[in-house]
Symmetry: none
Subunit: 407 residues, 2 copies
């Protein structure tokens, strides 16, 4: 079964809101094994909505339309679909009572315009709205299914979940399951080169590379008659990828590097202290995005200038003059000094050039130490200032992960 | 002129990412006075991309296609557009050199697959990519304009801004100018209530409230035959808004609170030190997003636990036991201690409950001191953990602004 999503609303075309409904629905439809081949957005305009509906009807069996079910003159979705399919409208008494009841409950007066929200094309299956006034509906016409849902995400989600999914499950066979492997420390093209043959030979499950935010991911997607079967298929493909890319893989699915590192620290009962120069507090900020991290992280230093490195961490002015603030030596000294000043078991440091100006923009040294063993990693990062800070912080956390895992 | 946006990428149809590019482009095109009537998303699939291209070509004069310009086999946008328009491809030497140079700079090996990124349909205007390897391009064909942009937002934005906007401005008549006023410390509905009559009576320029990320903004948009005329119209509306909302307005347009505070600190030659608990490094991280801030910010402390507040900043255990780590007293002591330990002129501190659990989630104290005058501000913030951290950091910087401006 192929689905197409049409999001209706001029605010989308003006860029006033981002289309999170389309993302939500795509993900849910994927989980149901329904392919989404197109998503489109159109404004609150009858002729253009008809164009979008005709285009979708030509390309898909299931057409999901979100938005435009409100009481105002701008809201034309139900009327336009009904007219296009040449269906007469009639009042749905139960819906009218629910809407009247809704206004009674919130203590507001129902406007006459709300009455049209209770009128539906003949034969429609009504989807009641537990979160607002606009009911949705399903219209089966020839071999096509039209599902009309309200625009506000907090109304759309519960309605889709409770009413549309059971309907779609009855009409569909097969399941789609995905798993994402997350990598740090390798570029997209290099990663792809290492597994090129796997990418080419795989058709089910498919393996697709994704790049974003300084990371590379591979998405494995399996389609079969059951979830268990999908999981087995994914597991086999994952094994192949791990045998080639294992050391770069830090997590899966919704993991990010700060969650993974916090989890490792908490599991192993290790406390960490941060000593940041070029990342300016970002490593600490990322760690503290995790609730409960306070058992593993309780203090950090930001030593942005040479003077601060000396005053806060006691890094010697002579050494800074000799080796430079951005150096293997400096990263090592910063990590050791922070460890000494704190009650932590491990320290991580960053020092580098975040830019935008200068010859060595992107050169960053990351130090990790537990007092016995100290490593310093030199990395070269590309991009504008915020990206270099962000990447340096991620790479630093990844070095902590590798250090602790003893790799 | 009518534009249509086509976003290419299977990850969009699987709901793995949300289509922020479409929002960004719609907003920018609106500012240029170019109408966007349709947005569509399609996967990395040739026949379906052709369908989307044909549909868009029928409906719009400008077709903007994002994504699918990478080096991998999945990336087929440029090839598909070129083939559809029956244009031969040739190698663009300058682009090849830029890509080779990019790999040289990051110290990685260029893969042979990257070479196709330097091949373009005949007659294309090449848009160089300063943030990655994939160049974009503009293809003028009959009376249609095709603009191909890379998918990663951090590459798309700068390229659109620097290369595509000047091109589009030459091709478009009538001017639309916008100005955004940025507020902190007031809610959307309260702000709107204060200027309700202005919002209703304005038609050109329009005044529209926008909320996002804990801030409220008002966008003033004027349309006329010249830029100067637009500026005059905006200036009049801005005056009206400032007379009512002045004290909440911290900046305009692309300002953010960290840029504004850094600017004030640098202009006045004031050095700041940070002492953060609940914001966990975020205040320092925001400040150091600005290049050149090192003259105004050189060190910061993150004291996440009571023990760390005592050890790093010398906050007395007795006081912490008596008043609590989240208190007016604690914020005051943290700011004073950080000021004393540093060579800074002003100190800012944060302490609060970021959540997600506990009775007082969102309660945050912000301290600012110059050693002579100390203020502590209590704020109550709503939302999940990351949002509370983010808001607390912004409010803290805003308190620094108000403190220095002597308000």
């Amino acid at each position: 079964m192929r689905a197409e999503i049409i999001s209706v609303g001029t605010e989308l075309l003006l860029g006033q809101i981002v289309n999170t409904n389309a993302q939500y629905l795509s993900r849910k439809l994927g989980e149901l094994g329904i392919d989404v081949f197109f998503i489109s957005c159109v404004g609150d305009n009858e002729s253009r909505l008809i164009d979008a509906l005709n285009t979708a009807t030509r390309r898909a069996e299931i057409i999901i339309i979100t938005g435009g079910l409100g009481p105002t003159m701008d809201d034309i979705t139900k009327e336009t679909v009904g007219n296009l399919l040449k269906l007469p409208f009639s009042l749905h008494q139960e819906s009218l009572e629910r809407i009247e009841n809704y206004f009674y409950r919130v203590g507001r007066k129902m406007q006459s315009s709300n009455r049209k929200q209770a009128e539906f094309p003949e034969g429609a299956i009504i989807l009641q709205n537990d979160m607002g006034t606009a009911p949705g509906c399903i219209i089966e016409n020839e071999d096509k299914i039209y599902i009309l849902l309200p625009g506000p995400p907090r109304e759309l989600g519960p309605m889709f979940e409770a009413k549309a999914i059971p309907y779609l499950q009855k009409n569909n066979k097969g399941t789609l399951v995905s798993k994402v492997l997350r990598l740090i420390g390798i570029g997209e093209s290099t990663a792809e080169e290492l597994v090129k043959d796997i990418l080419i030979e795989q058709s089910n499950p498919t393996v697709a590379p994704l790049a974003g935010d300084g990371e590379v991911s591979f998405r494995i997607t399996a389609k079969s008659e059951s979830k268990d079967k999908c999981m087995d298929m994914i597991s086999e493909a994952e094994g192949k990828l791990r045998s080639r890319l294992g050391k770069f893989i830090y997590g899966t699915d919704d993991d990010n590097i700060e969650i993974v590192v916090s989890r490792i620290l908490l599991q192993k009962g290790i406390k960490i202290v941060t000593a940041e120069s070029c990342t300016g507090g970002m490593v600490a900020n990322m760690l503290t995005d995790n609730p409960g991290v306070s058992c593993a992280f309780n203090s950090g230093y930001i030593a942005y200038s040479n003077a601060a490195k000396n005053r806060i961490l006691g890094i010697s002015d002579e050494g800074l003059a000799k080796y430079g603030a951005v150096s293997d030596w400096s990263a090592r000294e910063m990590a050791l000094a922070a460890l000494k000043a704190s009650d932590a078991d491990v320290a991580v440091s960053t020092t580098g050039y975040a830019g935008p100006e200068g010859e060595n923009v992107g050169l960053v040294y990351i130090g990790v130490t537990d007092g016995f063993r100290t490593i310093v990693k030199e990395v070269r990062l590309i991009g504008e200032r915020k990206r270099i800070k962000n990447l340096a912080a991620k790479y630093a956390l990844n070095e902590v992960r590798l250090f602790i895992m003893g790799k």
